[in-house]
């Protein structure tokens, strides 16, 4: 009998070590007691937080909810809403250098019908690595050509893309660039100019087609018929033309940003600017246009050789002070876990801690139209929370517990499991 137990334990241990899968999450309800609760939208207080199903149900002091629940003592700890990274390739890319594991860049310049949500791998090793740093929600976006696809927002827990879907869709557009693509871009100045002018013209043609398609479609609808012919790309742009779907306009160079502002005015689409590396050069124009910005990475080099070294660090602050609504993103896949540090650098270089924290919680929720469910600690909102021992933007802060949609998430990932196994390796040298 004893041998059987030993065998079972061995199998369990071996299974854990070799598979490097993380443990299961726990279902609620949960009462988080005696924490400093940072609501983001209505100040801080010390008290309790009650989670039931996927929602924050109640906030207060000495809560006594009815029924059964698990109590977690949070004395001396802090509760913050889960962080939101509003620009990633998380789950769309497993290993950067191996193209068959990258699912964010489909063939073609005009493929807005490609759905990021379809290609999210819920079991990607990167997802537990990311969420254990406090990021509970991410915008996953296709990359590449002019209209590379439709982005989605996911919560970082679930076994199917549908379970993870947080209910946002937005079409990505890379605004034509008049900059160099990288150091290896050997085009002449004249060629770059020609290319960007050509690209702008082509964009206007695409848009004219999309507007025409939307018109014909609505005319056809009013006569209760359908458009003949399958045009998935135009179908995907239709809701952008009709101002129902947000257009995420990736643009970075200052002169391109100005052109993008004009283009957005001209077409009247509902848009947000993303990237915006040189927002600081044209901040007043962006503010005047009333456009919101999802900027980042903050941990980046200046895009011009002669720029002030700290331009990427101060960019968010300059834009915020000009009156722009600014969210911070990483634009990363496997390094999305560094979101709090991107916000931390922006905080240090002028944005301030409070606003930097808002830039990765409530502000992205507002920009994406999800502020009724995400981005702060309020009764009725989705229970995406982190419990930590200090300032969540500070490098050495440890996150003790994590909740995503009310599930208590194990604080494990490949990195922690390898640490556990190899810190004191056994056998050691012999």
């Amino acid at each position: 009998m004893k041998q059987i137990y030993t065998f079972i334990i061995l199998v369990l241990v071996a299974g854990q070590l070799s598979a490097q899968m993380v443990a299961k999450s726990e279902a609620g309800p949960f009462l988080l007691r005696n924490a400093t609760i940072h609501t983001i939208t209505s100040g801080d207080f010390t008290g309790d937080l009650y989670i039931k199903d996927d929602k924050i149900v109640q906030l207060g002091v000495n809560l006594r909810p009815e029924g059964k629940y698990t109590t977690i003592d949070c004395s001396g700890k802090h509760i913050y809403p889960g962080m939101i990274d509003a620009g990633t390739q998380l789950g769309l890319s497993e290993i950067e250098s191996i193209s068959v594991t990258n699912d964010f860049n489909e063939v073609g310049d005009l493929v807005p019908q490609m759905q990021a949500l379809t290609a999210v791998n819920p079991n990607a090793v990167t997802i537990p690595v990311t969420r254990t740093n406090g990021i509970t929600t991410a915008l996953v976006a296709p990359k590449g050509g002019r209209f590379p696809g439709t982005a989605a927002v996911i919560d970082l827990h679930g076994y199917t893309p549908e379970q993870m879907d947080a209910g946002f869709k937005g079409v990505v557009m890379n605004f034509p660039s008049s900059g160099r693509r990288g150091r290896w871009d050997r085009r002449s100045d004249e060629d770059i100019k020609k290319d960007s002018e050509k690209a702008l013209k082509k964009l206007d043609e695409i848009w004219a087609d999309a507007v025409l398609y939307a018109k014909i479609d609505s005319a056809a609808n009013s006569q209760k018929t359908q458009i003949a012919g399958y045009q998935p790309e135009m179908e995907a742009l239709k809701s952008v033309v009709n101002k129902k779907t947000l257009l995420l306009v990736e643009v970075n160079k200052s002169s391109d940003i100005l052109l993008a502002i004009d283009w957005i005015k001209k077409t009247g689409v509902k848009a947000v600017l993303t990237g915006v590396a040189e927002g600081y050069r044209v901040a007043s124009k962006i503010a005047e246009a009333g456009l919101a910005v999802i900027t980042g990475p903050v941990l980046d080099t200046p895009r011009r050789e002669y720029d002030k070294y700290d331009a990427p660090y101060t960019n968010a602050a300059v834009m915020f002070k000009a009156g722009i609504k600014v969210a911070i993103r990483t634009d990363e896949a496997e390094n999305v876990r560094n979101l709090p540090f991107n916000a931390g650098f922006a905080a240090a270089y002028g944005l301030g801690k409070e606003e930097a924290l808002r830039a990765i919680t409530i502000v992205p929720a507002e920009i994406l139209g999800m502020e009724d469910r995400y981005g702060s600690i309020e009764p009725g909102k989705v229970a995406n929370l982190l419990i930590c021992n200090g300032d969540p933007l500070e490098t050495k802060t440890i996150i003790d517990h994590l909740f995503i949609r009310g599930w208590k998430i194990p604080m494990e990932n490949r990195h922690t499991l390898l640490y556990d196994e190899f810190l004191k390796r056994s056998p050691g040298l012999k």
């Binding site: 240090a348 390898l418 040298l429």
Partner: protein, 456 residues
């Protein structure tokens, strides 16, 4: 004639910049993170003629000495990056699996803005490395960021030991095996490249010695590649080896043991944590990323706890950048080891100061604030391990080379008034895996390979 006079003027004007200068400075009242003797509150640091001359309270310098008020600031030794490719304009001589004869010291670029930006992150010394295309790459150069000098020679750290780049795994395999159809195409092949090169060099040096002692009538024909390899066998050159997987790390240690070589620092070494006891027993050191992973298959099974596991197993470990972006915030990268593995302030700071100095063989000169060491100093507002830390001043040899208050908004000496269309913007400037710079897929594998790899 006027042109000639102008030319002479230019030479005269630039002459002062051609000699690296040493400075005197008194840094007053800072919190000094000495690295070797703990933290000293409200303490002065005196630098004379480029060297630290005193650490203590109420120090006095010579009359008129430049002084920096460091009250409320943190004073630490200049940060050292043991793996970088900034300030050089060639990285890979990717023409053969063994290119020990080349030296990146021949390719220093004094005008690389990345050097100034590294200084703005407190980094005073970097190890300018050859790339990782070849199993035995070129020799590297330890440089001091004496930014503003025109003469490349002034950047070379005088007296720094010679170092050389080795590389294991995917990069040499891709470039030579897959790219050129020659050995190595596997990790088996990589081992044999080392064994064969070392064996040849051993015969070369033996013949030289036998000629010297009269046993041979003729010396072997002079061969710089063989000279360099033989110097490695004689322990005159420190090896810095690009490596990732545990098995290949063990392989190289075995090869080195067989050839009697014991000075090695493994670079990147993402799976070093798996063989930390073996690394410690060999006396090998490790220079790692704080948290980079999953950018290629051989770093898929990585952990951000690597530096902590290595440190706790007694391996001398440093955190490096290999990037003109990461080099800007190595202090933040070091702090990550407190989140991932709970290293103390002292342990974390050593990863970017004393430990890389040991790995480059320059720890007698730099890496801590100690009397007699070089006046390479970084001064921070906020503790350097805090995400909110902001470097204020960086000094090399007692000269202020970065001063946040006097940092220009535009680094151009002249702005072209005729510039009508602006082409200076880059959509992406920060680069990863700089180790493969100069080696593009199309150049080495041909368009067909590129198409196959990218499916179009």
């Amino acid at each position: 004639m006027i042109k000639a006079i102008n030319f002479i003027w230019i030479i005269l004007l630039t002459l002062p910049f051609c000699v690296a200068q040493k400075g005197d400075v008194l840094i007053k009242g800072g919190t000094v993170l000495t690295i070797t003797q703990g933290v000293k509150e409200q303490t002065d640091v005196l630098v004379l003629n480029g060297k630290i001359a005193g650490i203590g309270k109420n120090l006095q310098g010579p009359n008129g000495i430049k002084s920096i008020d460091a009250t409320g600031l943190y004073v630490m030794p200049g940060i050292i990056d043991a793996h970088s490719h900034i300030a050089i304009d060639a990285v890979n001589e990717a023409s053969h699996p063994v290119t020990a004869e080349v030296n990146v010291g021949e390719a220093i670029d004094p005008f690389d803005i990345a050097m100034y930006r590294a200084l703005a992150g407190g980094v005073t010394i970097s190890h300018a490395m050859h790339g990782s295309a070849n199993a035995i790459g070129g020799q590297c150069q330890t440089i001091k960021h004496r930014y503003g000098n025109m003469d490349p020679e002034t950047y070379k750290m005088e007296g720094a030991p010679r170092t050389i780049k080795f590389a294991l795994g995917e990069n040499p395999i891709r470039v030579h095996g897959e790219g050129q159809g020659i050995v190595p195409r596997t990790r088996m092949g990589v081992e044999q490249v080392f064994r064969s090169a070392f064996s040849e060099a051993r015969v070369y040096r033996k013949s030289q010695n036998e000629f010297k002692s009269g046993l041979l009538a003729m010396a072997p024909a002079y061969n710089l590649r063989m000279e360099t390899l033989a110097d490695i066998l004689d322990g005159k050159i420190l090896i810095h080896c690009h490596s990732y997987r545990a098995d290949e790390i063990l392989m190289l240690m075995k090869v080195l043991k067989d050839f009697g070589v014991n000075k090695i620092c493994f670079q990147h070494v993402n799976e070093g944590f798996k063989v930390a006891p073996e690394l410690a027993a060999f006396g090998a050191s490790a220079s790692v990323f704080a948290d980079w992973w999953a950018y290629k298959f051989e770093v898929y099974y990585s952990t951000a706890y690597n530096a902590a596991i290595l440190t706790k197993n007694g391996v001398v470990t440093s955190i490096n950048s290999d990037s003109d972006e990461l080099i800007r915030h190595l202090y933040h990268e070091a702090a990550k080891t407190q989140k991932y593995g709970g290293l103390t302030d002292d342990e974390a700071l050593k990863l970017i100061t004393l430990n890389p100095a040991i790995q480059l063989g320059i720890d007698a000169r730099v890496g801590s604030i100690d009397q007699g060491k070089d006046g390479d100093i970084a001064i921070f507002a906020g503790h350097p391990l805090s995400v909110y830390a902001i470097p204020q001043y960086t000094l090399v040899d007692g000269k202020v080379v970065f001063d946040r208050k006097n940092d220009p908004a535009d680094m151009r000496l002249d702005v072209d008034p005729d510039e009508k269309f602006d082409f200076k913007f880059y959509e992406r400037l920060a680069e990863r895996d700089k180790c493969m710079q100069d080696v593009t897929e199309t150049l080495f594998f041909g368009q067909q390979y590129h198409n196959a790899l990218h499916g179009h």
